[in-house]
């Protein structure tokens, strides 16, 4: 089955600024909180179908937590990857890596399911809690000279979408965190069908993983530049060998990732819970974002030469490919997932990210 739907679905091409403009004007955000925010993502030929996340949990429909799901089905049968960007919407390299896959990716074998804004409520605006000097938008210039704008969002579900925070967030499998973490998608997995908005988003993601028979989950994140998390691949215990093969292969290309095992007692994280509750091999990858570095007063999240966005996106995409290569060598040729691009992705190391977007 290959469905090549026109890339003109209204959910993907609507100009997006209205929510933030309303916020800037002081309007009550609750007034428009029932619709999911749209983003300027232009699916390329590789996208065979576009769905909503609410397909997997109807209760999410018409909420700010609903989000587009891009399906890229290859000609050859194989395994299925779920690729998540925007679990934390301020971790922009993950969002843009997923966006680039949707716009320029090509799947020759297996299926790649991409969600660029896993927590779409967090992508409504940048609440500045992670770094007050970070922007509301980034602007990237395409090869045709068009300036495209992409939301630099927040770490957590928008506060007005899920009120009030509990005094303490207690994960059902154990562990207590600050109350605001109840809005952190990467602390509340595997979610709950009748739970909070964030729990419902998570639950829908797990429903997707189960219904689509997902073999590999990769959740793309960013950390501060000086964090020990920077340039790290966290693997569920079952995924350690695949991760080890991938990190060794990446090292030969000059991408040096630290490898860590998922902490068993720390529940709610994607690598822990997808690995525990689905059959998938689960990974979380972190690149260093200047916008998460407190010591930088006015961070340039796109062009900082120490960690340019294009290079961070390159690291994510090559890591995805390396994980898929390692998965394929473990799972066998009939389960391989082959993700390529309509350009040489090595060029990302040297060029502006915008030139690769549609």
């Amino acid at each position: 089955m290959v469905l090549r739907m026109a890339a003109t679905l209204s959910i993907v091409c609507v100009p997006v600024a209205f929510a933030t403009d309303l916020l800037a004007s002081g309007a009550d955000p609750v007034a428009f909180a029932t619709d999911p925010v749209s983003h300027d993502i232009r699916p390329g030929y590789g996208v065979t179908e576009t769905r909503w996340l609410s397909s997997y949990l109807p209760a999410l429909a018409n909420t700010p937590g609903d989000t587009p799901v891009y399906v890229m089905e290859g000609e050859g049968e194989g395994g299925t990857l779920l690729l998540l960007g925007g679990t934390h919407a301020n971790e922009i390299a993950g969002v843009m890596a997923a966006t680039l896959v949707v716009e320029r990716g090509a799947v020759s074998q297996g299926t790649v399911i991409v969600i660029p804004h896993a927590n779409n409520s967090a992508a409504r605006y940048n609440d500045g809690t992670r770094h007050p000097g970070t922007p509301q938008w980034i602007e990237l210039t395409t090869s045709s000279g068009e300036v495209r704008r992409f939301r630099y969002g927040s770490r957590r579900t928008a506060v007005e979408d899920q009120e009030p925070d509990p005094a303490v967030f207690v994960h059902p499998f154990g562990g207590e965190l600050a109350g605001e973490e109840a809005r952190n998608l990467n602390r509340i997995h595997p979610g709950k069908a009748d739970g909070t908005l964030t729990e419902q988003i998570s639950y829908a993601l797990f429903q997707l993983a189960e219904q689509e028979d997902v073999d590999v989950v990769i959740d793309m994140h960013e950390s501060s530049m000086t964090s020990r998390l920077a340039l790290m691949m966290v693997c569920h215990q079952r995924a350690l060998e695949i991760g080890a093969m991938a990190t060794l292969d990446l090292e030969m290309e000059g991408i040096v990732l630290k490898q860590e095992a998922s902490q068993e007692e720390f529940h709610g994280l994607s690598h822990r819970e997808f690995g525990d509750h689905t059959k998938a091999y689960a990974f979380l990858v972190e690149t260093p974002n200047p916008g998460q570095e407190e010591s930088i007063e006015q961070p340039d999240v796109v062009n900082d030469p120490r960690a340019p966005l294009s290079g961070r996106v390159y690291t994510h995409l090559r890591t995805v490919q390396a994980i898929l290569d390692s998965y394929g060598s473990t799972a066998g040729p009939d389960r391989r997932i082959e993700l390529g691009f309509s350009f040489a992705i090595d060029a990302l190391k040297e060029s502006n990210l915008g030139t690769f977007l549609r």
Binding site: L248, A261, Q263, E264, E265
Partner: protein
């Protein structure tokens, strides 16, 4: 086989076998020093042990892998390879703390010695595994082995990789190797351990 090379011999045999592999000590050319089958275990439960498993596989070795084996599992093996490096996540997953890990690993190495096995220690995750907990493990067990494989700069070697990748920036392993007269192989990239293992076990490259 239990080999401890003399310091003079160690100095005499300093050889460089490639741009990424710097050997100091009893490894010369393709001569085999260690015997198979090997047993690979983790001391500190870091992900490096799984990397060592992949490296040993790529080196074409005969080995058993178990991150935290009971000492009795070593029976039938000729060489114990311990991968050094503490991970709070890994230790937590194993349900132990650093003291319990050291107590267990002490028993493991004692069993290996009692069984006549040789012991190799690998520190292949660079500076990531050079915190207080890791160094507690490094300084406890590195002195007890027959050969060290360390991802880090050799003495006076210019380090071209990322600073964080240098597990020997302060010369800790160089000092341990010198004080305890242990041959040491320095590698610049983790994957270079494939060549180091092939050399130590006399495995023809390209197998």
């Amino acid at each position: 086989m239990h080999i401890r090379h003399g310091w003079i011999l160690t100095l005499a045999l300093i050889v460089g076998v490639g741009p990424a592999l710097s050997n100091e000590g009893g490894v010369a050319g393709q001569s085999s020093t260690f015997e198979q089958p090997a047993f690979i275990a983790s001391v500190g439960q870091s992900a490096g042990a799984m990397q060592a498993r992949v490296l040993a596989d790529r080196a074409g070795m005969q080995f058993t892998f178990e991150a935290r084996p009971a000492p009795e599992m070593l029976e039938g093996h000729k060489t114990l390879i311990v991968v050094l490096g503490a991970s709070t996540k890994g230790l937590g997953a194993a349900g132990v703390d650093i003291d319990a890990e050291i107590a267990w690993a002490t028993q493991l190495l004692e069993k290996a010695r009692a069984s006549g096995m040789s012991i190799i220690a690998m520190h292949i995750e660079g500076g990531t595994r050079r915190g207080p907990s890791s160094d507690q493990i490094n300084t406890t067990f590195a002195p007890l082995v027959d050969h060290l494989i360390v991802k880090g700069a050799a003495p006076n070697q210019e380090w071209a990789e990322a600073e964080e990748a240098n597990g020997n920036a302060d010369g800790l392993f160089t000092t341990i190797a010198a004080e305890h007269r242990i041959p040491i192989t320095y590698i610049a990239r983790t994957l270079d351990a494939v060549g180091a293992l092939q050399q130590l076990f006399g495995i023809e490259a390209g197998r």
